[in-house]
């Protein structure tokens, strides 16, 4: 038996291989066959056409708690929306609708109806939905503020067009233009302030898509509490994401050393070392926004209130240094300049002096110490020789 096995070993191996490949093929075929096709509405569920038969009618409303809930869907807008183009059916979200009459509405108001409906979004948008759970909006909602934005307040599910590239997931350029207006639905006064800022004006008037919109600073979905200490303490790094980017800043001729010059100075040094150790603790040392503004960020050379002008900057200084009364105090801060023979020459020449003075002095010291070591070595060797000769 053993001999036969040894003699036919190679043939057995081949047979085994063929059998194995066949079994693998069978298994793969079986595992592929089950239906993984696109979700289709069940036979007893109404199609979009059925729904629209009624719901495209203009002016349809149903009273909930005495307030009208608008029921009209614009078929054109819906089919142009991302849900329309991706063939999401009405009943994919409105899962409780199986025909007419519709089930009793339990919500107490149209707002309440939205709040009941929005968790549906997580079926497909799990990632975004979970991010929202950490957001300031969700915190407010959980605290009982029903005005707090939910998914559908920013993204009308019946009209929302595609915002991100389907493959890369990156925000489409055109989508950025609409962001501030979306936030403005609830934060209209902040929007007005932003619109007049250097960033907001560029976006809303020139259509510049490279300036920050709301979400670039506040985040999207997981929008954090902007009044928190950690948000304030990390502001310099937030601004630096764009303001240290050569490619971006080149277009405006803006310096990219704003962060390094900030960190090199009193305020920045303090904030940097403080932030590293206690990111959650409050500090009264200024970050970018304390001088440049929050939503009302202006060009420094704005003739009205630009902080390139000493009288305007002094006002900013006085927020923390009320005893600062002389305009020359403002020069204590180098306004993000690197000292040069033209700008802050005194600082430049002091630095230059030490750049030469330190190596000269230390070099001389090192040189002398080295010769001393050499002499000691020579003397010791001579002594040892002297001893061995005796």
């Amino acid at each position: 038996m053993r001999n036969w096995f040894m003699a036919n070993r190679s043939q057995l191996g081949l047979t085994g291989l063929v059998l194995g490949v066949f079994l693998l093929f069978v298994v793969m075929t079986l595992s592929v066959t089950p239906a993984a096709a696109a979700p289709q509405s069940q036979g007893d569920q109404p199609t979009d056409e059925t729904c629209l038969a009624c719901h495209q009618e203009a002016g349809m409303t149903a009273p909930i708690g005495g307030q009208p809930l608008p029921l009209t869907i614009d078929p054109e807008k819906f089919s142009a929306s991302v849900h329309g183009t991706e063939n999401i059916a009405c009943v994919d979200c409105h899962t409780n609708i199986t025909g007419f009459p519709h089930p009793e509405v339990t919500a107490s108001s149209p707002r309440d109806f939205s709040l009941e409906m929005y968790p549906t979004c997580q079926k497909c948008h799990t990632e975004q939905y979970e991010k929202v759970l950490d957001s300031v909006h969700q915190t407010a909602l959980a605290a009982g503020n029903t005005n707090a934005a939910v998914c559908t307040d920013c993204h009308n599910p019946h009209t929302q067009t595609r915002l991100t590239d389907k493959n890369t997931g990156e925000l489409l350029l055109g989508a950025r233009l609409a962001v501030p207006q979306t936030c403005a639905k609830c934060h209209s006064t902040i929007y007005e302030t932003y619109r007049q800022s250097v960033h907001g004006a560029a976006l809303t008037e020139e259509g510049n898509q490279y300036v920050p919109t709301c979400i670039d600073c506040h985040g999207v979905h997981n929008i954090g509490d902007p009044t928190s200490n950690s948000f304030r303490n990390s502001t310099p790094y937030l601004c630096a994401t764009c303001h240290t980017n050569e490619t971006l800043m080149k277009q405006y001729g803006i310096s990219t050393n704003v962060l390094s010059t900030y960190v090199a100075d009193f305020h920045g040094t303090t904030v940097k070392m403080f932030e590293e150790n206690y990111p959650d603790q409050p500090t009264n040392k200024p970050v970018c926004t304390d001088c440049h503004g929050v939503h009302d960020i202006m060009r420094p050379d704005n003739p009205e209130a630009g902080i390139a002008f000493k009288k305007n900057l002094l006002v900013k200084c006085q927020q923390c240094h009320p005893d600062a009364t002389t305009a020359s105090f403002t020069d204590s801060w180098m306004s993000h300049y690197e000292p040069s023979p033209q700008v802050f020459p005194l600082v430049y020449f002091v630095n230059l002096f030490y750049k030469i003075f330190i190596p000269t002095v230390l070099g001389g010291m090192i040189l002398f110490v080295l010769t001393d070591i050499y002499r000691r070595f020579v003397v010791r060797r001579a002594q040892v020789k002297g001893v061995s000769h005796e």
């Binding site: 109404p46 038969a53 009624c54 009618e57 203009a58 002016g59 349809m60 809930l69 608008p70 869907i73 007419f100 009459p101 519709h102 149209p110 707002r111 939205s114 005005n147 307040d153 009308n156 599910p157 019946h158 403005a184 639905k185 609830c186 006064t189 902040i190 100075d265 009193f266 920045g268 040094t269 303090t270 940097k272 070392m273 150790n277 009264n284 040392k285 939503h295 923390c320 240094h321 005893d323 020359s328 105090f329 403002t330 020069d331 204590s332 000292p339 005194l346 600082v347 002091v350 630095n351 030490y354 003075f357 330190i358 230390l362 010291m365 002398f368 010769t371 050499y374 002499r375 020579v378």
Partner: protein, 412 residues
């Protein structure tokens, strides 16, 4: 012979050694708490700041050590005055031309260009260099430190630019001082030979012979001390002590002013937190459906009739073939109200409003839906009989509607 070897001389009295210790401790503290501020981005700095409990603590320690060093310097000035005026000791620390010659000779000797090392007195050129470098450093650090500590006061008299310039000089000088201490001081008194004189106060005769032969010669010749008779001493003390007291007062006031000239630059006031009204909606919270805008009747019902038989408006109402008890008021109106008016109510989907008898008889965009006397050909019935209409009537209900229409579709 052995007696001369073991003989020791007093090099530094206790007061000088305490001075040295104070300077040693304050200098080290200043260096350790200052350099992290010069290199704030280094992880080592950040870790050190963390160990000291934060940047504010670190600065407080730095300022405390600075005050200690200033007081130590003030004391040193008073002692210098006492020794110079009252005791009239030889001013052995003053740099002379001979020091330069000694330095040159030492260098030449080291590289083998001179036969012998220089013969030096109480303080060698190395020691004098370090002393005066420290004095120079103390002045620079004191002046620039004052400017940074009191920028508001400083900029009342000087341009604002001196503050960052002071910072640059403070940092540069600090780096120079620390590295010079490491290279020059460490080598000179710790590595070359561990010189314990600053701690024990004593120096052996052999060490004196090697390092301070001229002083040793002076001591042996009795020229090192200049004894003062007690009467003269007392006289000079009477003159010096009031002057020293006034000087001390001024220096103490100076240190006090240094520390307390102003407060807002360093401590600053509590941050004024700007307040913003956050929720200012443009409209009531946006709804995920369009707010109604179009007039109710403009959109035609797109569903084609399944039968193709369109009853027309001019269809002649036939006489009721069957008598029926059913009327709009007693049953049909309520039926339509329950099943149809969600769409064909006030919203009048497809132009059809079934909430009142008059509107129902008018029909919709496709024409009349109720042809009195002809239930089977009324659009309402044919649409319902095809099935699948939203708000589908049951067969029994359809039968009732047919019966009602056939009987003339009466209101009452």
């Amino acid at each position: 012979m052995s007696e001369t070897v073991t003989r020791t001389y007093e090099r530094f009295p206790l007061a000088r050694r305490i001075e040295h210790l104070i300077m040693l401790l304050s200098f080290t503290t200043l260096a350790l708490t200052g350099l992290p501020q010069k290199f704030p981005s280094s992880n080592l700095s950040i870790a050190f700041v963390y160990v000291l409990g934060g940047i504010e603590n670190l600065r407080a320690i730095h300022h405390f050590a600075a005050v200690v060093m200033m007081l130590g310097t003030a004391w040193h000035i008073l002692v210098f005055g006492y020794l110079g005026y009252v005791r009239r000791t030889r001013l052995t620390m003053l740099p002379t031309l001979q020091d330069m010659k000694d330095g040159w000779q030492a260098l030449m000797y080291n590289i083998g260009r001179a036969k012998a090392p220089p013969q030096m007195g109480r303080y060698t050129f190395e020691e004098k260099m370090e002393y005066w470098a420290f004095a120079w450093g103390a002045i620079i650090m004191g002046v620039t430190g004052f400017m940074m500590w009191n920028p508001l006061s400083t900029t009342k008299f000087l341009p604002g630019e001196v503050i960052p310039a002071a910072k640059a000089a403070h940092g540069g000088e600090a780096l120079l001082a620390v590295l010079a201490i490491i290279i020059w001081h460490m080598y000179g008194v710790h590595i070359k030979r561990f010189n314990k004189a600053m701690f024990t106060g004593k120096i052996s005769e052999e060490e004196m012979l090697h390092e301070h032969p001229l002083e040793l010669a002076d001591i042996k010749a009795g020229m090192a001390d200049r004894p003062v008779d007690s009467a003269t001493l007392r006289k000079r003390q009477r003159i010096y002590l009031p002057i020293a007291a006034v000087l001390a007062l001024f220096m103490l006031l100076g240190v006090y002013g240094f520390v307390n000239a102003e407060s807002t630059a360093l401590t600053t006031i509590e941050r004024q937190v700007p307040t913003v009204v956050v929720f200012v909606p443009q409209t009531p919270t946006p709804a995920p459906t369009q707010t109604p805008t179009l007039p109710a009747t403009e959109t035609p019902l797109p569903i084609p009739s399944p039968t193709g038989a369109q009853p027309t408006a001019d269809s002649t109402p036939s006489t009721p073939a069957v008598a029926s008890a059913l009327t709009w008021d007693n049953s049909i109106g309520a039926l339509f109200q329950a099943k149809c008016t969600a769409c064909h109510g006030a919203g009048a989907l497809g132009g059809l409003n079934l909430s009142t008898y008059a509107d129902a008889m008018k029909g919709g965009a496709s024409g009349p839906v109720i042809v009195p006397g002809d239930g089977a050909n009324s659009l309402l019935v044919t649409r319902q009989q095809a099935g699948g209409h939203p708000g589908q009537l049951t067969p029994e209900e359809i039968a009732e509607v047919i019966e009602w229409i056939d009987a003339g579709a009466l209101e009452k």
